[in-house]
């Protein structure tokens, strides 16, 4: 079923009784050409681009829970391409271009809103660093505008410009950045992949990876064995456990990142705003809730919930920057399981097992990467060659000492 304005109107007039489920619920077949482990944003996008870009159809996505129930349904929905380092810059630039055509491509409203991202700075040194980053973005062909204090004041009148501890010097404005509706991204890719013949198999947990003579032959699951010529691991925070099934030890530690949502308010925050001196960033959802978060709790965790110290820090930082939000009541908070690499950059690569591929290490930046990651991972799986924009996301770069340390904080999992 193709969506259109006319169809929405017709369904509305007929009481919305004609909508059908948008993907099938197939039984797993005994064998596929390609099995993708993980039905999140990256896994679904990978399946879609394998079908669309490479004409492959005999593909299954195996999901242990429900589609989009992991980090793609539990993030703060920010989409941007404001990276500095060669390797990251071209990748996120490519991903943003895919975002810009995504709704027409998928025939699905993912509510992509290019409302602009503004990174505030609070010292001369930080301004220099952001000016350099802005130049890197412009060199990459993306957009960046360095705002002074008055420029910020015109766009963000509600900030506390008079605070003495961390005065606002200005901001780096990335107009094409913004947000998207997180669930819709998973659903849009799932529907589009299903339409191209991909089997989306939910409630199907992979319990083993079959390897014979150094080559992958299939997977064991809670719904039986499935043979496959190629197997792709895209499981975010659970990468360590799934990779271990193939005898692989990853440069990844899973950490907790908390996020918060307030009650619905009238529109008041029009952009994505990040605080340069405290762990705090914020945007307002289309439902009106203020969506905000901070940094890792810093210790390894699979609990999907954090502890009070970071929650307190985020609230304090937020109130320092924009005191007006102090009266908003927080409705809920949650924690995501982040697959942290030692340099804060991701991995899209082959493994030591022939036919086994891995896409992981997105740290806490995976949402904006969903289209780019799916596209580049599909390219690798289909052609066995790295896609140019993702060619530096290598599994062995840590051993070789070729880090992609965007923040320059060093080689430790919890420092990014």
């Amino acid at each position: 079923m193709r969506y259109s304005g006319l169809q929405v109107l017709a369904q509305g007039l007929m009481g919305n009784r004609g909508w059908k489920p948008v993907w099938r619920d197939p039984e797993p077949k005994p064998a596929y050409d390609i099995v993708i482990i993980g039905g999140g944003g990256h896994g679904l996008a990978t399946a879609y681009y394998l079908a669309r870009e490479h004409g492959l159809g005999n593909i299954a996505v195996l999901e242990k829970g429900y589609l989009g129930g992991g980090n793609v349904g539990r993030n703060t929905t920010i989409v941007r391409a404001n990276y500095n380092l060669p390797g990251n810059s071209e990748f996120y630039s490519h991903s943003l271009k895919l975002w810009e055509g995504l709704e027409a491509d998928l025939n699905y409203n993912v509510m992509h809103s290019q409302r602009g991202v503004i990174n505030l700075f609070h010292s001369d040194g930080q301004r220099d660093a952001y000016a350099r980053r802005g130049n890197a973005m412009i060199n990459q062909g993306d957009d960046a505008i360095l705002l002074d204090r008055e420029g910020c004041r015109r766009m963000l009148p509600y900030l506390d410009y008079d605070q003495t501890r961390f005065p606002i010097y200005g901001g780096l404005y990335h107009p094409r950045g913004g947000t998207a509706r997180h669930d819709a991204v998973a659903w849009g890719y799932a529907r589009a992949a299903d339409q191209r013949g991909v089997d989306l198999i939910q409630q199907c947990e992979v319990t083993g990876i079959d390897i014979a003579g150094g080559k992958v032959t299939g997977v064991q699951t809670t719904r039986g064995a499935i043979r496959a010529a190629k197997v792709a691991i895209v499981v975010a925070g659970r990468s360590g456990q799934v990779a271990a099934m193939a005898g692989l030890r990853l440069p990844i530690e899973s950490h907790i990142l908390q996020a918060f949502v307030t009650e619905g308010l009238k529109p008041c925050i029009d952009h994505v705003v990040t605080y340069g001196m405290g762990h705090f960033y914020i945007s307002q959802s289309d439902k009106g809730g203020l969506v905000f978060g901070g940094d890792l709790d810093f210790y390894a965790s699979y609990a999907a919930r954090g502890n009070l110290p970071m929650a307190e820090h985020v609230m304090e930082a937020g109130l320092t920057l924009m005191p007006m939000i102090g009266k908003a009541r927080v409705l809920r908070s949650w924690g995501g399981i982040m697959d942290m690499t030692p340099d804060g950059s991701p991995i899209i690569d082959k493994t030591h097992v022939d036919g086994l591929y891995i896409d992981c290490g997105w740290c806490y930046g995976g949402f904006k990467a969903v289209p780019g990651s799916g596209f580049s991972f599909a390219h690798l799986i289909a052609t066995d060659r790295h896609h140019d924009p993702a060619a530096r996301f290598r599994l062995d770069r840590f051993r070789r000492g070729v880090l992609l340390d965007e923040e320059g904080t060093g080689s430790q999992h919890n420092l990014h």
Binding site: R238, S239, G240, Q241, A244, R249, L250, P251, I252, E253, S254, F298, Y299, A300, S301, Y302, A303, N307, P309, P342, F398, R399, S411, Q412, H413, N414
Partner: protein, 92 residues
Amino acid sequence: MRITCPLCGDRDSREFSIRGHETYLDRPAPDAGEAAWDNYLHLRDNPAGETAELWYHGAGCAAWLRVRRNTLTHEVLKVDLVRDLTGGDHAD
């Protein structure tokens, strides 16, 4: 989360900072080779369940601690002084 320091007793986790997995206690020799250093710096078992980490009691006794902890529940299971485990050497 609260951590029971062997020297100071039951304390708020805010008094401590984490270094990382206890792998950091086994620092390879400078000439141990790429694989040993990769193992030490980057590769992790990343268990969903019991793990052991190095924590530093900066706002307390300034001791290095090995904390056995459950990553699924945040339960702290056992805390030892690193100096008792290594015969006096600190982490690093």
